[in-house]
Symmetry: C3
Subunit: 349 residues, 3 copies
């Protein structure tokens, strides 16, 4: 457990983040913890009413909860009442992390390689063994982690943080306050080929990818995710988009502001995703489709045509014990003929 | 938009790539662009008849199109007529990129580590902070990007290009003119274990992977894709194969020449894929299967048995609005019994 | 083929690994090979009775096989009889690799960056261009490959081996004898956000991830796989777990001892997986679920609810030729109404 850091008092917390404290402001908080593993030095929270039954048994020094649970909470001890306890908790983690995190030292580590013509703001940090290409721009307060690769003429916006081993390709641009996790690759070539010749001589002729990637402000991209550069125009990730790990974004895609895509999602080339969309883990959106704003795709669903109406869409095979699945799956391969047989029976009866 | 580079004239382009120009050869072209975002300095193309309706409205200085559209195109302005406009466009991007791209400087960057016994052709380029192991061979004109890792006794063929942060494992070989994108890992251990003991003492005993990976000529592998080394023999990727990002190729797989696999495809161990096969995004091919030449697997399809006849194969759950999906999916779990009930009704009626 | 190394005699092998040799102990073995590509210098094995028919035709100098096949094997030449030939073969590959593999030189490569306060055991090896953060601990005999990143206060246990380009995040801990392949990212932030505001102002507020990742002993993690740090508590991978390539493990997940997960598996946040479970390639386990011990998930299956009974579970759409699939998939979207129609017919008949 690395959540431990120097203790704060409940009074400190409420002073910084608001909410109404019922209890002793001088109570020291040593860690943030889930209800069930909280101890007497912990601050916990109840985000959903469903967890309210754990309230009685938690050992937490204090619990953040909604007004509706205030009375029940106060019966067991200190509480902080907040309108949206989950959002309060999110901001608390930020405040807590900012206290704990040692800021990266400004300046260029002596083992880094910065090509002539790169511009690194004096307040930015370039980590050990990082590479910054010619003409790249690293903004104020930005952190380029150890062993990162910043291609020629790429841009890292102010206050953005690149973890270790991130690759930002030539000409690609990242906005303000972005977070890119280790192994992210921005700006590899999109998958573009023209079929040449035919028969045994058939082969693929590369379409050079001449566009770049443009990433807005407040974007976060998870470990080992990829965003390809556009073929002619740029691939675009708009403000506030959050991508989890191992997500693939093809060339020429546009992802609208404040979308969130869970792990292992794949978005094929030239798809256009609206604002405030979400996709569950392993979902796939095929190429050249359009999704309007506020479309929500369930996990492992494959979107094969455009979606022009907001809402939730799903398409996954329900799992079962293997024997049941085998029987149903085998029957599924005869489904069309079953329908024809049903039609025949309907006519007869 | 980084597609912009020094302008070329239409005459330059036709001189280099052929085709028949109707229009002023001295027209300067500043960028290649899609029909809909083209401006008066742009050269665009119409690959498919379906886009022909955009011809009338594009602002492009000139449009590449097929003979069938020549008359319609000439009515609006300059055109280049080519038998296969998409292939023409592919070659144009190559020509354009070759003009724009600064070649990597030959030689070993002073920050790179090249172990004694490695052979680097004097015309090859070893980027900053790259590592080249003992006994490795880097061919003529090859580019090993910054922060790449070339294992001991690995081979990079002439004119191949490794982007930044590529890992090529010990003893693995890449042919001529290959392109490996950032984060690619060639030659990690295949996933091989023998079950040992049983009950609570059960555990996995590692099978050391003693083979390597052999990659042919003109292969391209996308960002963060993996090709594992063989258990005893080698994993083989034949000439002209194109793999997109986040593709997984297990140990002992053989992928025949000129296959193309889209993003997030997984190919399990010991599968044998014929020549000229394709797989859509997220498709999975299970282990120890054989696919003959010219098999095409749709996106997100799971291939669970060998395919001995060329053609297109599919198997994905059609997505729907969530409520409809829920009803259909729940019914699917009773499908076998529905068939039995239908049978009973058939007998009665 | 890189399986070749200095030859060993059959007597050497049996002396080291046991089993009963029938044949000349002085026979030199130059390589381990599959039955079908074995030559007169090869040692092969028959793991399953299904391969027994290849026994007659193999050119191998000697074959490892089970007692039941001993007579048949001896009829063709030398054999090693072992109770579990596949397990014997696994241990043989380990013995063979140990003979062939040059151990990494102890010490810190001069190009590596080791921050003050890191503790590197004198018998450990830190590769070229690697980074070891402040307060990190590298145990006895551990190998940190070239270009690896070890975050501050991270721990690499004794005898663990990190291939090139591995990222182990701040505070994360790896036990004894672990193997982490290239591109692995341990300890990126989990995907945690709270929804803030609503309508057009809606956005995601980051939940800082304050936990770490704790990995047990004898764990192996494949190339480009990711294990995220916990939100408050730690993500835990227990002893003996084997993860293949491109596997995603979300925050707060716990994977019990001796589980094995094939390539491209995704495990969403806070899932609890029991001991001795397996998942086939591309399977997805959704968040906050519990799987008891000895649960086996088939490839490409999506687990959407907890599984409280050991056994095999499946849920994938059976693939078919495209035309058949299209007809069946279209009908599937009417399945619920088909059931209603069947019900109506049943009532009438």
């Amino acid at each position: 457990m690395s959540a431990a850091t120097a203790p704060a008092t409940l009074a400190d917390i409420v002073a910084a983040l608001g909410g109404t404290l019922y209890g002793d402001g001088q109570t020291p908080i040593h860690r943030l913890a889930p209800l069930d593993s909280a101890d007497a030095g912990s601050l916990a929270f109840v985000a959903q009413a469903g967890y309210a039954k754990q309230l009685a048994s938690t050992l937490a020094a204090c619990v953040i909860l909604a007004p509706a649970l205030a009375e029940q909470g106060r019966a067991r001890g200190a509480v902080i009442v907040a309108d949206d306890p989950y959002l309060y908790f999110a901001r608390l983690t930020q405040w807590w992390a900012a206290r704990a995190r040692r800021p990266a030292a400004p300046g260029v580590h002596p083992s880094a390689v910065v090509e002539p013509g790169a511009q690194v703001d004096p307040s930015a940090s370039i980590g050990a063994l990082a590479y910054v290409g010619a003409g790249a721009l690293i903004g104020a307060g930005a952190v380029v982690g150890p062993q990162c690769h910043i291609g020629a003429a790429a841009v890292v916006g102010a206050q953005s943080r690149l973890a270790a081993q991130v690759t930002l390709g030539q000409d690609c641009r990242v906005g303000l306050r972005a977070i890119l996790h280790s192994g992210v690759v921005i700006g590899a070539d999109g998958f573009g080929f023209a079929a040449a010749a035919s028969g045994d001589a058939a082969h693929w002729e590369k379409i050079e990818q001449l566009g770049a990637v443009v990433i807005g402000d407040d974007v976060e991209i998870g470990a080992n995710s990829c965003v390809d550069r556009g073929a002619l125009d740029d691939t675009m990730i708009d403000d506030g988009v959050k991508l989890d790990n191992l997500v693939q974004v093809g060339h020429n895609v546009r992802i609208g502001a404040h979308c969130a895509m869970a792990g292992c999602v794949g978005i094929a080339g030239s798809a256009r995703i609206g604002r405030h969309c979400t996709a569950g883990g392993g979902a796939i959106i095929l190429g050249h489709l359009t999704l309007v704003d506020h479309v929500h795709i369930s996990a492992a669903t494959v979107v094969t045509r455009s979606i022009l109406k907001p809402g939730r869409y799903s398409g996954l095979f329900p799992f079962d014990d293997n024997a049941s699945w085998e029987k149903n799956a085998a029957t599924l391969r005869q489904l069309y003929s079953l329908r024809e047989r049903l039609r025949a029976v309907e006519k007869r009866s």
